[in-house]
Symmetry: C2
C-alpha cells in the first residue's frame, strides 16, 4: 500500500544500478553472503562499485550536471541564511555528498547545507565561520559516537504519520519558498506565514520576465514527467525508428531538469548579450576548492584568543540541537525514500555516515550539514553519484552566473510537489484514527518550524504509545466466575489499571464472594511492578473471600510468578480447568470465610 | 508478596478508624454506593468523619502530640535549609497537613516542608521569602491544573523498582543525616557523601551527653516496637489483670515516640534547672499563627518594585522542577504506604490535594510543600489527624525548646530504618533481572540528589519499556512454511524489526521461494506504521515469489488491515488453514513466478 502518489516509474530507472543486490546475493552461499554483507553494510560503496557500468556512467553524467546546476545556487542561498560568506555554502556541499556516497545506505539522500540547518547555524554561531566550522566538527563527533554506540534504534521511534506530516508540510513550505523566485520578488522573509502574507501583499510587483520563464519551466517539467510516466519500455520486435524515438523522449524526460535549466540559461545569456536583462540571475560564484585545514579550536580576537572551552560554552544548546535535528531530518527523509524506492536504511550506518561527513567536512571549512529535502528530491530522480558534483564545482562555476533563479525554482517546485500526500488524512481516518493526532501535530507545527514539528510529532506518538501500553485492552466476561483476559503483556504502567478493573468488577457485584480467573494467554512478558500488583490483588481478594487463579501462563511469565513466591498462587493450563477449580474453591472459601470476616 | 519488612502489625491498629469502608459500602445498594463513593472520592474526609469515635480521638490525641513534637523542630531545620527565617518552616507545616487531611487519599502521608523541597526552594528563590511564597502559589496552580486535566495517570509511570530504590536510598540518607544529632556534632554539610566524610572525620568530637541520650532513645524505641509486634490481641476469656497489662504495654508501644521525646525533654529540663546543659536543644520557637495574606505578586525593592513577570522569569526552571518533583515525591511515598497499608491512591486526587495545599498555604506564608518521607514515616505509626498539630503549634511551642535534638533524631531513625529493603535486590534478581537497572540507577543517584535519582529511574524504566515495545518477542518456526508469531501488539517502533526478521528468514533460506504465515493471535492492536510495514513486506516478498498470509486476526486488527486495502492481502481463521492455503499458493506462485523473475 503505497500511499504517496510518487513518481515510481521515474525512480525505477535511476535505481537500476544498485537494484541487482538481491538476486546476486541470493545466488552465493550463505557463509560468503554473510561476510560480504557485513562489509557492504559498513561500506555500501562495495555494493555498487563492482557493477558500475557504462549505462550507469551515462546516467551519472546527466545526474552530475543536473545536480551541480541545482546544488550550487542553493548552496549560495543557504550560506546567506546561515549568515556566512557565500563560499561556505559551496564548501559545505561537496564533502557531504562524497562521504555519503561511500558510507550512506539511502542512495537517494545527499548531505549538504539545508534551509533548516542553516537557520540553526545562524542562531548558534553568531554569523562567524570559525564557530560554524567548529560546530560541524563537534556535531560530527556526537553523531559518530551515537552511531558507534548503536543508538540508531532510537530512530525507530519516528513513526510513519510523523514522516508523512513532515514531508507533506515540507513540500508546501519549500514550494512556496520558491514562489518568490518565480514571481521575481525580492526581500521576502523566510518564516512561512510571513512569507505567504508578504508574497500575496506584493503580488502586484511581479516581474513579467521571471514569471513567464518560471511558469514555462514548470509547464515543461510537468509535461516531460507526464510523458515519461506514460511511456512503456519498447519491445525488441518494434521498428528501430519507434524504439529510437521512445529512447530519445525517455532520455529528455530523465534529464529534464538539466534541459530546462540549460535552456533557461541560454535565454538569460542571449538577453545578457543583447544588453537588457529581464531575469533575476544567480550571480557570480568564486571558483576553486576550499583549503584543507583542521577545524579552528580557538579564535583570535583583537585583544587575545577565545579558548576552546569558551567557544563550546558560547554555542551551548546548539551542540545538542544541531546533531539531533540533523540526524532526525536525514533519517526522516531517508525513511521516506526507502519506502518509496523499496530499500531499507540502517540507522546506525546513517549516523556513522553523517558523523563522518560533518567531521571531514569541518576540515574543508564546511558548516553542519544534513540530508536535504529539496535537493534530495531532485537527486531521487537523477541519481546521486557525487564525484561529478565535485567536478562541476571545480570547472563549471563560471557558467552558473547565467542561471535564472526562476528556472531553479521551477525545478525545485516540480520535484517536491509530488511529496505532498493529501490522501494520507483519509487513509489514517480509515485505518487508525488515533494516528491522525501525530500526523496533524507534525503537519501543522512544521509550518511554524520544521524541527518543532518533527519533535512534537515524535513526542505525541511516544505518548500515545506509552498510553496504549499503560491501558492495554482487557476483556472481562462474567460466566459464574469472572474471567479477565489482558490483551497484551503486563508492564508497570498497566499494573494499577488491571488491579482497579478486577477489584471494581469483583467487589461491585451483588454477591461479592466469587472467583476470578486471570487468563494470561496473551501475556508474553511481565515485570516486577506487575507481579507486585498481582500479589496485592491476590491478598486483597483473599481478604474478601474471593479466590484468584491464573491460567494459560506462558513460560517466562510462569517463571516470574513462581520466583516471586506469591501467597496463594495457583495456575492451570486452560481457563476451563481453572474455572472448575475456582468454582470448587469458591464454595469452600465462602463457607470458611464467612465466620472469619467479623474478625478481619 | 510484601517485600519490605514493614511494621505491619504496628500499622494496623492506627488505620482502624478508616478501615471499615469496605464492609459498610458493601452493604448499601449499588446506586447509593456509587453516589457516596463519587463524593468521597473528591472529599475523602466524608469517608472517615461520620465514623469518628472516642477511640479514634484517644489515638489522635497521642498522634497529635507525637507529631507535633516531631514536626516543629523539623520545620525549623528545613526552613534553615531553604535559607528562610525559621518561622516560615512552621507556617509551611500546618496548612498542608490540614488540607491533605480533608482532600488526600493516602492517609499515611502528610504534606509539609521537606529536605528536598527546601533545597530546591533555596536554589530557586534567592533566600527571599517573597519569592518562596509566590513559588508555592504558582506550584499550587500548576498542580491543580494537572489534577483537573486528569494528568494523574502520568504517575503510573513511576515503577516499583524506582520507588523501592528511592525509599531504600532515602532511608539511608535520612538516617545518616540524623547521626550528627545523635553524636552532638554541628556544622556537618548536607550533601550525603560530604556528610559521611565529615561525620567520620569528626567522630572524635562526639558529645557524651547527646550520644548517651540518643542511643538510649534508639534502644527504647526498638525495644517497644519489638514488644508490640510480639504482643497478640488478648482473648476475652483471659483474666482482667493480664488484659489490662497487655493493653498498657500496647498503648506505651503505640505512643512510644511521644513517650521517648517526653522523657528526653524531662531529662533536658532537669539539667536546665540544675544549671548545666550537656544536651543540644531545639531552642526557642516564636509562638502564634501566621497572618492570612494573599501571596505577593510583586516585590518592593529600594529603587522601585520587581513586577510579577520579572519574578516569574527569575525563578525560571523552578516553576517546572518544584511542582513536578513535589508530585513525584508525594506519589512515590503515597504508593509505598498504599502498598504497605493496603489501600489505593488516586493520583488525580493527590494532585488536587497538593495543589490546594500549596495554593492555600501561600496565603499563610508557606513555601512549597510536598509529601514528607521522614515525617510521614512517623505518622504512619501514630495517625495523621492534623487539627491537633495546629493546636500544638498554637499552644505548645513554648515547651518545644527543651526537646533534645538527639531524641528527635532517634525517633526519625527508628521510623525510617525499616523502609530500607535489602531483599529487593535478591527478589528482582529472581523475578525480573532487567528491573535491577532502574532500581540500581535510582538507588545510587538518590545518594547524590534525590530528585535526580527518581527522574533517572523513571527515565530508565521508560526506556526499557519502550525498548520492549520496539522489540517484542517474535517466535519463528520453520515447518515447510515459515510460521512467524509476534508475542504482542504491533506498534510503530516494532514495524521495521518485524519486517527485517521475516525478510532475513525468508530470503536467507536455501530455496528462497516459500510461504510465510504471520500468526497474529497475540496482536490486539496495530497502528498505521505497522500496517505500512506489512504492506511493504507483502510487496517485497511477492517480488521474490514468496507468499505472505495472515491468520488468527483479532477484529480490530482485521478491520485495520482491510481498511488499508493491502495488495495481495489474504487471511485465514487458523494457522492450519493458512498453512494449507499457503502450500497450494507457493506451488502455483513458484510456477508462475519463475518466468517472470528475469523481467523484474
Amino acid at each position: 500500500m503505497r500511499a504517496a502518489p510518487v513518481p515510481a516509474a521515474v525512480c525505477r530507472s535511476t535505481s537500476m544500478c544498485s537494484e541487482k543486490t538481491g538476486p546476486a546475493w541470493g545466488g552465493s552461499t550463505l557463509a560468503m553472503a554473510c561476510t560480504s554483507r557485513a562489509m557492504r553494510r559498513r561500506l555500501p560503496v562495495l555494493g555498487w562499485l563492482p557493477r558500475y557500468s557504462l549505462t550507469c556512467l551515462r546516467l551519472d553524467v546527466t545526474a552530475g550536471i543536473t545536480v551541480g546546476l541545482t546544488v550550487v545556487p542553493q548552496a549560495l542561498a543557504y550560506a546567506e541564511v546561515a549568515g556566512l560568506p557565500v563560499q561556505y555554502g559551496l564548501y559545505s556541499s561537496f564533502v557531504g555528498c562524497f562521504v555519503y556516497c561511500l558510507l550512506g545506505t539511502a542512495k537517494d539522500v545527499t548531505l549538504g547545507p539545508t534551509a533548516i540547518m542553516s537557520l540553526l547555524v545562524s542562531s548558534y554561531t553568531f554569523h562567524d565561520p570559525t564557530y560554524a566550522v567548529l560546530l560541524a566538527f563537534l556535531s560530527g563527533c556526537i553523531q559518530l559516537a551515537m552511531g558507534l554506540l548503536h543508538l540508531g534504534f532510537l530512530l525507530d521511534f519516528v513513526s510513519c504519520p510523523v514522516i508523512k506530516g513532515f514531508t507533506s508540510a515540507a513540500s508546501i513550505t519549500i514550494s512556496f519558498n520558491q514562489v518568490k523566485n518565480i514571481l521575481g520578488l525580492q526581500g521576502i522573509p523566510r518564516q512561512f506565514f510571513l512569507q505567504v502574507y508578504e508574497t500575496l501583499r506584493r503580488i502586484g510587483e511581479t516581474r513579467a520576465g521571471d514569471a513567464i520563464l518560471g511558469l514555462s519551466c514548470l509547464a515543461a517539467l510537468a509535461g516531460l514527467r507526464a510523458m515519461k510516466s506514460r511511456l512503456h519500455p519498447t519491445a525488441s520486435m518494434e521498428p528501430l525508428a519507434t524504439r529510437a524515438s521512445v529512447l530519445l523522449v525517455r532520455s529528455c524526460a530523465t534529464a529534464r531538469n538539466a534541459l530546462v535549466v540549460l535552456a533557461a540559461g541560454l535565454v538569460a545569456y542571449s538577453f545578457q548579450v543583447s544588453g537588457s536583462q529581464p531575469l533575476m540571475l544567480t550571480g557570480s560564484v568564486p571558483r576553486g576548492l576550499p583549503p584543507f585545514d583542521p577545524p579552528p579550536f580557538s579564535k583570535a580576537v583583537p585583544n587575545g584568543t577565545v579558548p576552546f572551552g569558551r567557544m563550546v560554552q558560547d554555542m551551548g544548546a546548539g551542540l545538542a540541537v544541531v546533531p539531533l535535528v540533523g540526524v532526525l531530518e536525514t533519517v526522516a527523509i531517508a525513511k521516506a525514500f526507502a519506502s518509496q524506492n523499496d530499500y531499507r536504511i540502517d540507522a546506525n550506518q546513517e549516523l556513522l555516515a553523517m558523523g563522518t561527513a560533518n567531521l571531514l567536512g569541518s576540515f574543508f571549512s564546511s558548516y553542519p550539514i544534513t540530508g536535504s529535502f529539496g535537493r534530495t528530491a531532485v537527486n531521487a530522480q537523477t541519481g546521486p553519484q557525487c564525484t561529478l558534483v565535485l567536478l562541476s564545482l571545480a570547472y563549471l562555476t563560471s557558467l552558473f552566473c547565467y542561471i535564472p533563479k526562476a528556472a531553479l525554482a521551477a525545478v525545485i517546485i516540480s520535484a517536491v510537489i509530488p511529496m505532498f500526500d493529501a490522501r494520507i488524512f483519509r487513509t489514517l481516518w480509515r485505518v487508525k484514527r488515533l494516528d491522525l493526532i501525530p500526523l496533524c501535530v507534525t503537519f501543522l507545527l512544521c509550518f511554524w518550524e520544521v524541527q518543532y514539528g518533527i519533535m512534537a510529532g515524535v513526542l505525541v506518538s511516544g505518548i500515545l504509545l506509552l498510553y496504549s501500553v499503560a491501558r492495554p485492552p482487557i476483556k472481562v466476561l462474567e460466566q459464574g466466575v469472572l474471567l479477565v483476559q489482558p490483551g497484551s503483556s503486563l508492564h508497570f504502567p498497566a499494573a494499577d489499571h488491571l488491579q482497579d478493573i478486577i477489584r471494581d468488577r469483583a467487589l461491585a457485584a451483588a454477591s461479592p464472594p466469587r472467583s476470578v480467573i486471570l487468563d494470561c494467554h496473551h501475556v508474553s512478558t511481565i515485570d516486577y511492578t506487575a507481579v507486585v500488583g498481582l500479589a496485592e490483588l491476590l491478598q486483597d481478594l483473599h481478604k474478601h473471600g474471593i479466590s484468584l487463579v491464573f491460567c494459560s501462563l506462558q513460560d517466562p511469565v510462569l517463571r516470574a510468578l513462581l520466583a516471586a513466591d506469591l501467597e496463594g498462587f495457583r495456575h492451570f493450563p486452560s481457563w476451563e480447568e481453572a474455572g472448575e477449580a475456582a468454582m470448587r474453591h469458591t464454595h469452600g472459601c465462602w463457607q470458611a470465610g464467612a465466620p472469619r470476616e467479623p474478625g478481619e
